[in-house]
Subunit: 227 residues, 2 copies
Amino acid sequence: MGQVRPRRAPEGVSLRSMTQVAAPKASRRTPADKHDERRKALAESALRTLGELGYARASLREIANNSEFSHGVVHYYFNDKLELIVYCVRYYKQTCVHRYDGVVAEATSPEDLAERFGDKLVETIVEEAPMHRLWYDLRSQSMFEESLREAVAQIDQSLEDMIARVLGRYAELAGVEPAIASPVAYGMFDGIFQQALLGYLNGRDGVLEDLRARVVELMPMLLAPRA
Amino acid sequence: MGQVRPRRAPEGVSLRSMTQVAAPKASRRTPADKHDERRKALAESALRTLGELGYARASLREIANNSEFSHGVVHYYFNDKLELIVYCVRYYKQTCVHRYDGVVAEATSPEDLAERFGDKLVETIVEEAPMHRLWYDLRSQSMFEESLREAVAQIDQSLEDMIARVLGRYAELAGVEPAIASPVAYGMFDGIFQQALLGYLNGRDGVLEDLRARVVELMPMLLAPRA
DNA sequence: CGCGAATCTTGACGAGTGTCAAGATTTATT
DNA sequence: AATAAATCTTGACACTCGTCAAGATTCGCG
Protein backbone atom coordinates (compact mmCIF):
# COMPACT_ATOMS: atom_id res chain seq x y z
CA MET A 1 0.00 0.00 0.00
CA GLY A 2 1.13 3.51 -0.69
CA GLN A 3 4.66 4.25 -1.80
CA VAL A 4 3.63 3.90 -5.40
CA ARG A 5 5.94 6.57 -6.66
CA PRO A 6 9.41 5.86 -7.98
CA ARG A 7 12.66 7.40 -6.86
CA ARG A 8 12.63 11.08 -6.23
CA ALA A 9 15.33 13.64 -5.89
CA PRO A 10 16.05 13.31 -2.17
CA GLU A 11 15.95 17.05 -1.57
CA GLY A 12 15.97 20.26 -3.51
CA VAL A 13 17.67 20.22 -6.85
CA SER A 14 19.98 17.56 -8.08
CA LEU A 15 23.55 18.64 -8.48
CA ARG A 16 23.70 18.00 -12.18
CA SER A 17 20.57 19.88 -12.99
CA MET A 18 21.78 22.90 -11.08
CA THR A 19 25.31 23.16 -12.30
CA GLN A 20 24.66 22.46 -15.93
CA VAL A 21 21.89 24.00 -17.93
CA ALA A 22 22.18 21.91 -21.06
CA ALA A 23 22.54 18.18 -20.67
CA PRO A 24 25.68 16.74 -22.23
CA LYS A 25 25.10 14.97 -25.51
CA ALA A 26 27.10 11.92 -24.45
CA SER A 27 24.14 9.76 -23.47
CA ARG A 28 21.24 10.62 -25.69
CA ARG A 29 18.46 10.53 -23.14
CA THR A 30 18.66 8.59 -19.96
CA PRO A 31 15.42 8.30 -17.96
CA ALA A 32 17.01 10.34 -15.18
CA ASP A 33 17.53 13.19 -17.62
CA LYS A 34 13.93 12.98 -18.71
CA HIS A 35 12.90 13.34 -15.11
CA ASP A 36 15.04 16.42 -14.69
CA GLU A 37 13.82 17.93 -17.92
CA ARG A 38 10.27 17.49 -16.79
CA ARG A 39 11.02 19.20 -13.53
CA LYS A 40 12.50 22.12 -15.40
CA ALA A 41 9.52 22.35 -17.71
CA LEU A 42 7.21 22.34 -14.73
CA ALA A 43 9.38 24.93 -13.02
CA GLU A 44 9.38 27.25 -16.00
CA SER A 45 5.65 27.05 -16.19
CA ALA A 46 5.27 27.52 -12.46
CA LEU A 47 7.52 30.56 -12.53
CA ARG A 48 5.03 32.42 -14.68
CA THR A 49 2.24 31.92 -12.17
CA LEU A 50 4.49 32.52 -9.19
CA GLY A 51 5.77 35.73 -10.68
CA GLU A 52 2.21 36.83 -11.23
CA LEU A 53 0.68 35.94 -7.88
CA GLY A 54 3.57 35.54 -5.46
CA TYR A 55 4.35 32.71 -3.13
CA ALA A 56 1.32 32.74 -0.86
CA ARG A 57 -1.38 33.35 -3.43
CA ALA A 58 -0.17 30.99 -6.11
CA SER A 59 -1.90 27.70 -5.42
CA LEU A 60 -0.73 24.45 -6.90
CA ARG A 61 -3.97 24.22 -8.82
CA GLU A 62 -3.47 27.65 -10.33
CA ILE A 63 0.10 26.79 -11.21
CA ALA A 64 -1.05 23.58 -12.88
CA ASN A 65 -3.88 25.32 -14.71
CA ASN A 66 -1.44 27.71 -16.34
CA SER A 67 0.60 24.76 -17.55
CA GLU A 68 0.22 21.62 -19.57
CA PHE A 69 0.06 19.51 -16.42
CA SER A 70 -2.65 18.56 -13.99
CA HIS A 71 -2.50 19.64 -10.39
CA GLY A 72 -1.61 16.22 -9.09
CA VAL A 73 1.57 15.88 -11.09
CA VAL A 74 3.32 18.41 -8.91
CA HIS A 75 3.58 15.87 -6.13
CA TYR A 76 5.08 13.42 -8.52
CA TYR A 77 8.07 15.66 -9.18
CA PHE A 78 8.25 17.57 -5.91
CA ASN A 79 7.66 16.51 -2.36
CA ASP A 80 5.64 19.58 -1.52
CA LYS A 81 4.90 23.13 -2.50
CA LEU A 82 7.92 24.52 -0.76
CA GLU A 83 10.29 22.28 -2.64
CA LEU A 84 8.72 23.32 -5.93
CA ILE A 85 9.09 26.98 -5.19
CA VAL A 86 12.62 26.75 -3.95
CA TYR A 87 13.49 24.78 -7.06
CA CYS A 88 11.86 27.41 -9.25
CA VAL A 89 13.64 30.36 -7.72
CA ARG A 90 16.96 28.55 -7.71
CA TYR A 91 16.41 27.65 -11.33
CA TYR A 92 15.70 31.23 -12.27
CA LYS A 93 18.40 32.83 -10.16
CA GLN A 94 20.95 30.70 -11.98
CA THR A 95 20.62 33.02 -14.93
CA CYS A 96 20.70 36.17 -12.79
CA VAL A 97 24.09 35.28 -11.45
CA HIS A 98 25.64 35.43 -14.92
CA ARG A 99 23.61 38.32 -16.27
CA TYR A 100 26.53 40.73 -15.95
CA ASP A 101 29.30 38.42 -17.09
CA GLY A 102 29.27 40.09 -20.48
CA VAL A 103 29.49 43.51 -18.91
CA VAL A 104 32.49 42.46 -16.88
CA ALA A 105 34.17 40.85 -19.87
CA GLU A 106 33.57 43.54 -22.46
CA ALA A 107 33.88 46.80 -20.58
CA THR A 108 36.82 48.86 -21.73
CA SER A 109 36.91 51.52 -19.05
CA PRO A 110 35.45 52.16 -15.62
CA GLU A 111 32.92 54.58 -17.06
CA ASP A 112 31.97 52.11 -19.75
CA LEU A 113 31.45 49.37 -17.19
CA ALA A 114 29.33 51.54 -14.94
CA GLU A 115 27.06 52.52 -17.81
CA ARG A 116 26.69 48.99 -19.11
CA PHE A 117 25.96 47.77 -15.61
CA GLY A 118 23.29 50.42 -15.15
CA ASP A 119 21.78 49.56 -18.50
CA LYS A 120 21.58 45.89 -17.64
CA LEU A 121 19.95 46.58 -14.30
CA VAL A 122 17.31 48.68 -15.99
CA GLU A 123 16.82 46.05 -18.67
CA THR A 124 16.17 43.25 -16.23
CA ILE A 125 13.62 45.29 -14.34
CA VAL A 126 11.69 45.92 -17.51
CA GLU A 127 11.93 42.38 -18.79
CA GLU A 128 11.73 40.33 -15.64
CA ALA A 129 10.01 42.35 -12.97
CA PRO A 130 7.74 39.44 -11.94
CA MET A 131 10.73 37.20 -11.36
CA HIS A 132 12.47 39.76 -9.22
CA ARG A 133 9.47 40.42 -7.05
CA LEU A 134 9.13 36.69 -6.58
CA TRP A 135 12.68 36.56 -5.30
CA TYR A 136 12.05 39.36 -2.84
CA ASP A 137 8.87 37.64 -1.79
CA LEU A 138 10.70 34.40 -1.12
CA ARG A 139 13.45 36.16 0.78
CA SER A 140 10.92 37.92 2.97
CA GLN A 141 9.13 34.65 3.62
CA SER A 142 12.43 33.13 4.68
CA MET A 143 12.45 35.57 7.57
CA PHE A 144 9.45 33.66 8.92
CA GLU A 145 9.92 30.20 7.48
CA GLU A 146 13.00 28.50 8.79
CA SER A 147 13.07 25.90 6.04
CA LEU A 148 13.58 28.54 3.35
CA ARG A 149 16.62 30.13 4.87
CA GLU A 150 19.30 27.81 3.57
CA ALA A 151 18.28 28.22 -0.05
CA VAL A 152 17.88 31.97 0.33
CA ALA A 153 21.28 32.28 1.95
CA GLN A 154 22.90 30.38 -0.91
CA ILE A 155 21.24 32.52 -3.54
CA ASP A 156 22.11 35.68 -1.67
CA GLN A 157 25.72 34.57 -1.54
CA SER A 158 25.85 33.92 -5.26
CA LEU A 159 24.39 37.35 -5.92
CA GLU A 160 26.94 38.92 -3.65
CA ASP A 161 29.68 37.12 -5.58
CA MET A 162 28.25 38.49 -8.78
CA ILE A 163 28.37 42.05 -7.45
CA ALA A 164 31.88 41.42 -6.23
CA ARG A 165 32.94 40.48 -9.76
CA VAL A 166 31.39 43.62 -11.20
CA LEU A 167 32.91 45.92 -8.60
CA GLY A 168 36.23 44.10 -8.73
CA ARG A 169 36.53 44.52 -12.46
CA TYR A 170 35.44 48.13 -12.16
CA ALA A 171 38.20 48.83 -9.65
CA GLU A 172 40.67 46.93 -11.79
CA LEU A 173 39.88 49.06 -14.80
CA ALA A 174 40.29 52.15 -12.64
CA GLY A 175 43.59 50.90 -11.31
CA VAL A 176 42.57 51.08 -7.66
CA GLU A 177 41.03 48.92 -4.96
CA PRO A 178 37.35 48.90 -3.99
CA ALA A 179 36.66 51.03 -0.94
CA ILE A 180 34.06 48.71 0.48
CA ALA A 181 33.76 44.99 1.05
CA SER A 182 31.50 43.00 -1.25
CA PRO A 183 28.73 42.33 1.32
CA VAL A 184 28.32 46.07 1.76
CA ALA A 185 28.31 46.64 -1.97
CA TYR A 186 25.73 43.93 -2.49
CA GLY A 187 23.53 45.29 0.26
CA MET A 188 23.62 48.76 -1.22
CA PHE A 189 22.94 47.78 -4.80
CA ASP A 190 20.26 45.38 -3.73
CA GLY A 191 18.62 48.17 -1.78
CA ILE A 192 18.47 50.65 -4.61
CA PHE A 193 17.49 47.93 -7.05
CA GLN A 194 14.61 46.86 -4.87
CA GLN A 195 13.59 50.49 -4.54
CA ALA A 196 13.59 50.90 -8.30
CA LEU A 197 11.65 47.69 -8.80
CA LEU A 198 8.97 48.83 -6.39
CA GLY A 199 8.78 52.20 -8.07
CA TYR A 200 8.56 50.56 -11.47
CA LEU A 201 5.69 48.35 -10.36
CA ASN A 202 4.00 51.41 -8.92
CA GLY A 203 4.19 53.00 -12.35
CA ARG A 204 6.24 55.93 -11.13
CA ASP A 205 7.86 57.85 -13.94
CA GLY A 206 11.59 58.14 -14.18
CA VAL A 207 12.51 55.29 -11.88
CA LEU A 208 14.50 53.52 -14.58
CA GLU A 209 16.44 56.59 -15.57
CA ASP A 210 17.01 57.30 -11.90
CA LEU A 211 18.32 53.82 -11.28
CA ARG A 212 20.73 54.10 -14.15
CA ALA A 213 21.93 57.52 -13.05
CA ARG A 214 22.29 56.42 -9.45
CA VAL A 215 24.41 53.45 -10.36
CA VAL A 216 26.67 55.53 -12.56
CA GLU A 217 26.92 58.17 -9.85
CA LEU A 218 27.52 55.68 -7.07
CA MET A 219 30.19 53.45 -8.56
CA PRO A 220 33.04 55.98 -8.40
CA MET A 221 32.33 56.51 -4.71
CA LEU A 222 33.01 52.85 -4.07
CA LEU A 223 36.63 53.15 -5.13
CA ALA A 224 39.50 53.82 -2.77
CA PRO A 225 41.23 57.13 -3.44
CA ARG A 226 44.40 56.77 -5.52
CA ALA A 227 47.45 56.03 -3.45
CA MET B 1 -31.40 43.43 7.32
CA GLY B 2 -27.67 43.65 7.63
CA GLN B 3 -25.94 46.94 8.20
CA VAL B 4 -26.12 46.45 11.91
CA ARG B 5 -22.79 48.00 12.62
CA PRO B 6 -22.33 51.65 13.49
CA ARG B 7 -20.11 54.16 11.77
CA ARG B 8 -16.72 52.99 10.77
CA ALA B 9 -13.58 54.77 9.82
CA PRO B 10 -14.16 55.16 6.08
CA GLU B 11 -10.71 53.89 5.16
CA GLY B 12 -7.40 53.18 6.78
CA VAL B 13 -6.50 55.17 9.82
CA SER B 14 -8.20 58.31 10.94
CA LEU B 15 -6.10 61.43 10.68
CA ARG B 16 -6.18 62.16 14.37
CA SER B 17 -5.11 58.73 15.42
CA MET B 18 -2.18 58.84 13.03
CA THR B 19 -0.81 62.25 13.72
CA GLN B 20 -1.15 62.23 17.47
CA VAL B 21 -0.19 59.34 19.65
CA ALA B 22 -1.71 60.55 22.90
CA ALA B 23 -5.21 61.94 22.83
CA PRO B 24 -5.55 65.48 24.07
CA LYS B 25 -6.95 65.80 27.55
CA ALA B 26 -9.44 68.46 26.52
CA SER B 27 -12.46 66.18 26.20
CA ARG B 28 -12.13 63.43 28.72
CA ARG B 29 -13.28 60.54 26.61
CA THR B 30 -15.47 60.94 23.61
CA PRO B 31 -16.91 57.74 22.16
CA ALA B 32 -14.92 58.34 18.99
CA ASP B 33 -11.72 58.28 21.03
CA LYS B 34 -12.76 55.06 22.67
CA HIS B 35 -13.22 53.55 19.24
CA ASP B 36 -9.74 54.62 18.21
CA GLU B 37 -8.21 53.36 21.41
CA ARG B 38 -9.78 49.98 20.87
CA ARG B 39 -8.41 49.85 17.36
CA LYS B 40 -4.97 50.59 18.70
CA ALA B 41 -5.26 47.94 21.38
CA LEU B 42 -6.33 45.44 18.77
CA ALA B 43 -3.51 46.55 16.52
CA GLU B 44 -0.88 46.19 19.21
CA SER B 45 -2.09 42.72 19.95
CA ALA B 46 -2.27 41.81 16.28
CA LEU B 47 1.26 43.07 15.72
CA ARG B 48 2.63 40.38 17.98
CA THR B 49 1.04 37.62 15.95
CA LEU B 50 1.82 39.27 12.64
CA GLY B 51 5.43 39.71 13.60
CA GLU B 52 5.57 36.07 14.52
CA LEU B 53 3.84 34.52 11.53
CA GLY B 54 3.91 37.12 8.78
CA TYR B 55 1.11 38.46 6.66
CA ALA B 56 -0.02 35.34 4.85
CA ARG B 57 0.19 32.84 7.69
CA ALA B 58 -1.36 34.96 10.42
CA SER B 59 -5.06 34.19 10.34
CA LEU B 60 -7.63 36.40 11.97
CA ARG B 61 -8.48 33.61 14.37
CA GLU B 62 -4.87 33.24 15.41
CA ILE B 63 -4.56 36.98 15.85
CA ALA B 64 -7.67 37.02 18.00
CA ASN B 65 -6.56 34.01 20.03
CA ASN B 66 -3.37 35.81 21.04
CA SER B 67 -5.44 38.73 22.24
CA GLU B 68 -8.26 39.53 24.61
CA PHE B 69 -10.77 39.66 21.77
CA SER B 70 -12.76 37.12 19.87
CA HIS B 71 -12.19 36.56 16.20
CA GLY B 72 -15.38 38.27 15.12
CA VAL B 73 -14.53 41.61 16.66
CA VAL B 74 -11.94 42.27 14.01
CA HIS B 75 -14.68 42.98 11.51
CA TYR B 76 -16.25 45.40 13.88
CA TYR B 77 -13.19 47.64 13.85
CA PHE B 78 -11.79 46.87 10.44
CA ASN B 79 -13.45 46.23 7.13
CA ASP B 80 -11.22 43.32 6.27
CA LYS B 81 -7.91 41.67 6.97
CA LEU B 82 -6.00 43.97 4.68
CA GLU B 83 -7.21 47.07 6.44
CA LEU B 84 -6.22 45.63 9.79
CA ILE B 85 -2.72 44.83 8.64
CA VAL B 86 -2.15 48.14 6.93
CA TYR B 87 -3.34 49.86 10.08
CA CYS B 88 -0.99 47.78 12.20
CA VAL B 89 2.08 48.46 10.13
CA ARG B 90 1.26 52.14 9.85
CA TYR B 91 0.76 52.24 13.59
CA TYR B 92 4.09 50.63 14.25
CA LYS B 93 6.05 52.54 11.63
CA GLN B 94 4.98 55.76 13.29
CA THR B 95 7.50 55.06 16.01
CA CYS B 96 10.21 54.02 13.55
CA VAL B 97 10.11 57.36 11.88
CA HIS B 98 11.14 59.15 15.06
CA ARG B 99 13.53 56.53 16.39
CA TYR B 100 16.57 58.58 15.41
CA ASP B 101 15.28 62.00 16.41
CA GLY B 102 17.31 61.82 19.60
CA VAL B 103 20.42 60.90 17.66
CA VAL B 104 19.94 63.85 15.37
CA ALA B 105 19.28 66.23 18.24
CA GLU B 106 22.02 65.14 20.61
CA ALA B 107 24.97 64.30 18.38
CA THR B 108 27.88 66.63 18.91
CA SER B 109 30.08 65.69 16.00
CA PRO B 110 29.82 63.75 12.74
CA GLU B 111 31.62 60.79 14.25
CA ASP B 112 29.38 60.86 17.28
CA LEU B 113 26.29 60.91 15.12
CA ALA B 114 27.47 58.03 12.95
CA GLU B 115 28.17 55.89 15.99
CA ARG B 116 24.89 56.68 17.67
CA PHE B 117 23.07 55.97 14.44
CA GLY B 118 24.79 52.61 14.08
CA ASP B 119 24.01 51.77 17.68
CA LYS B 120 20.36 52.54 17.24
CA LEU B 121 20.11 50.46 14.09
CA VAL B 122 21.62 47.51 15.90
CA GLU B 123 19.37 48.07 18.87
CA THR B 124 16.17 48.01 16.84
CA ILE B 125 17.17 44.79 15.11
CA VAL B 126 17.67 43.09 18.45
CA GLU B 127 14.53 44.48 20.04
CA GLU B 128 12.10 44.56 17.16
CA ALA B 129 13.19 42.07 14.56
CA PRO B 130 9.65 40.64 14.16
CA MET B 131 8.28 44.08 13.41
CA HIS B 132 10.89 44.76 10.79
CA ARG B 133 10.40 41.50 9.01
CA LEU B 134 6.69 42.20 8.98
CA TRP B 135 7.37 45.49 7.24
CA TYR B 136 9.50 43.83 4.61
CA ASP B 137 6.85 41.19 4.20
CA LEU B 138 4.19 43.81 3.62
CA ARG B 139 6.35 45.71 1.20
CA SER B 140 7.04 42.58 -0.81
CA GLN B 141 3.35 41.76 -0.86
CA SER B 142 2.65 45.23 -2.21
CA MET B 143 4.58 44.24 -5.32
CA PHE B 144 1.76 41.80 -6.03
CA GLU B 145 -1.21 43.40 -4.33
CA GLU B 146 -2.15 46.70 -5.86
CA SER B 147 -4.23 47.79 -2.89
CA LEU B 148 -1.22 47.78 -0.58
CA ARG B 149 0.91 50.07 -2.67
CA GLU B 150 -0.37 53.43 -1.52
CA ALA B 151 0.23 52.71 2.15
CA VAL B 152 3.63 51.19 1.44
CA ALA B 153 4.64 54.18 -0.65
CA GLN B 154 3.67 56.56 2.14
CA ILE B 155 5.61 54.63 4.75
CA ASP B 156 8.60 54.36 2.46
CA GLN B 157 8.51 58.10 1.94
CA SER B 158 8.44 58.80 5.66
CA LEU B 159 11.39 56.48 6.17
CA GLU B 160 13.28 58.23 3.42
CA ASP B 161 12.58 61.55 5.13
CA MET B 162 13.92 60.12 8.35
CA ILE B 163 17.15 59.07 6.66
CA ALA B 164 17.36 62.48 5.04
CA ARG B 165 17.22 64.12 8.48
CA VAL B 166 19.99 61.89 9.78
CA LEU B 167 22.23 62.41 6.78
CA GLY B 168 21.43 66.12 6.65
CA ARG B 169 22.41 66.65 10.25
CA TYR B 170 25.51 64.55 9.72
CA ALA B 171 26.58 66.72 6.81
CA GLU B 172 25.74 69.84 8.76
CA LEU B 173 27.96 68.76 11.63
CA ALA B 174 30.71 68.06 9.13
CA GLY B 175 30.24 71.43 7.50
CA VAL B 176 29.66 70.03 4.04
CA GLU B 177 26.81 68.92 1.81
CA PRO B 178 25.64 65.32 1.33
CA ALA B 179 27.09 63.74 -1.79
CA ILE B 180 23.97 61.78 -2.60
CA ALA B 181 20.27 62.49 -2.74
CA SER B 182 18.06 61.15 0.01
CA PRO B 183 16.32 58.44 -2.06
CA VAL B 184 19.72 56.93 -2.82
CA ALA B 185 20.76 57.14 0.80
CA TYR B 186 17.55 55.51 1.93
CA GLY B 187 17.87 52.74 -0.62
CA MET B 188 21.40 51.99 0.48
CA PHE B 189 20.77 51.99 4.19
CA ASP B 190 17.61 50.01 3.75
CA GLY B 191 19.56 47.44 1.76
CA ILE B 192 22.26 46.87 4.33
CA PHE B 193 19.74 46.98 7.15
CA GLN B 194 17.64 44.33 5.50
CA GLN B 195 20.75 42.27 4.94
CA ALA B 196 21.66 42.53 8.60
CA LEU B 197 18.15 41.65 9.68
CA LEU B 198 18.18 38.53 7.56
CA GLY B 199 21.57 37.54 8.90
CA TYR B 200 20.39 38.16 12.44
CA LEU B 201 17.36 35.95 11.98
CA ASN B 202 19.62 33.30 10.48
CA GLY B 203 21.65 33.39 13.66
CA ARG B 204 24.81 34.37 11.87
CA ASP B 205 27.49 35.65 14.23
CA GLY B 206 28.82 39.14 13.93
CA VAL B 207 26.04 40.61 11.83
CA LEU B 208 25.27 43.28 14.40
CA GLU B 209 28.87 44.35 14.80
CA ASP B 210 29.19 44.31 11.03
CA LEU B 211 26.15 46.50 10.59
CA ARG B 212 27.47 49.02 13.07
CA ALA B 213 30.90 49.05 11.48
CA ARG B 214 29.47 49.35 8.00
CA VAL B 215 27.34 52.33 8.90
CA VAL B 216 30.22 54.10 10.56
CA GLU B 217 32.43 53.31 7.60
CA LEU B 218 29.84 54.31 5.03
CA MET B 219 28.67 57.64 6.35
CA PRO B 220 31.82 59.63 5.55
CA MET B 221 31.63 58.41 1.97
CA LEU B 222 28.24 60.04 1.61
CA LEU B 223 29.65 63.52 2.13
CA ALA B 224 30.75 65.81 -0.63
CA PRO B 225 34.47 66.60 -0.53
CA ARG B 226 35.24 69.91 1.13
CA ALA B 227 35.11 72.85 -1.21
C1' DC C 1 3.19 -7.58 -29.25
C1' DG C 2 3.07 -7.77 -24.18
C1' DC C 3 4.29 -6.67 -19.77
C1' DG C 4 6.03 -3.94 -16.18
C1' DA C 5 7.55 0.44 -14.94
C1' DA C 6 6.97 5.22 -15.32
C1' DT C 7 3.95 8.95 -15.75
C1' DC C 8 -0.23 11.35 -15.39
C1' DT C 9 -5.38 12.27 -14.22
C1' DT C 10 -9.01 12.41 -11.31
C1' DG C 11 -11.46 12.88 -7.36
C1' DA C 12 -11.69 13.13 -2.78
C1' DC C 13 -10.53 14.31 2.26
C1' DG C 14 -9.81 17.18 6.10
C1' DA C 15 -8.15 21.27 7.71
C1' DG C 16 -8.17 26.09 7.59
C1' DT C 17 -9.64 30.54 5.66
C1' DG C 18 -12.16 35.36 5.51
C1' DT C 19 -16.48 36.88 6.07
C1' DC C 20 -20.78 37.75 8.00
C1' DA C 21 -25.13 37.89 10.67
C1' DA C 22 -27.95 37.03 14.63
C1' DG C 23 -28.14 37.40 19.20
C1' DA C 24 -26.00 38.23 23.90
C1' DT C 25 -23.85 41.59 26.65
C1' DT C 26 -22.20 45.91 28.11
C1' DT C 27 -22.28 50.90 28.13
C1' DA C 28 -24.29 55.37 27.89
C1' DT C 29 -28.17 58.44 28.16
C1' DT C 30 -32.40 60.19 29.74
C1' DA D 1 -34.33 52.25 36.19
C1' DA D 2 -35.52 51.97 31.37
C1' DT D 3 -34.31 52.31 26.80
C1' DA D 4 -31.34 52.71 23.02
C1' DA D 5 -26.86 52.44 21.20
C1' DA D 6 -22.50 50.41 21.13
C1' DT D 7 -19.76 46.45 21.63
C1' DC D 8 -18.70 41.72 21.65
C1' DT D 9 -19.45 36.45 21.12
C1' DT D 10 -20.75 32.68 18.75
C1' DG D 11 -21.53 29.78 15.18
C1' DA D 12 -22.04 29.05 10.67
C1' DC D 13 -21.33 29.45 5.40
C1' DA D 14 -18.91 29.07 1.29
C1' DC D 15 -14.67 28.51 -0.34
C1' DT D 16 -9.71 27.29 -1.11
C1' DC D 17 -5.84 24.91 0.12
C1' DG D 18 -2.10 21.07 0.20
C1' DT D 19 -2.00 16.44 0.14
C1' DC D 20 -2.67 11.93 -1.24
C1' DA D 21 -4.18 7.49 -3.25
C1' DA D 22 -6.37 4.73 -6.69
C1' DG D 23 -6.81 4.01 -11.22
C1' DA D 24 -5.98 5.28 -16.17
C1' DT D 25 -2.58 6.07 -19.61
C1' DT D 26 1.79 6.12 -21.80
C1' DC D 27 6.43 4.57 -22.45
C1' DG D 28 10.34 1.44 -22.96
C1' DC D 29 12.30 -2.78 -23.45
C1' DG D 30 12.39 -7.85 -24.30
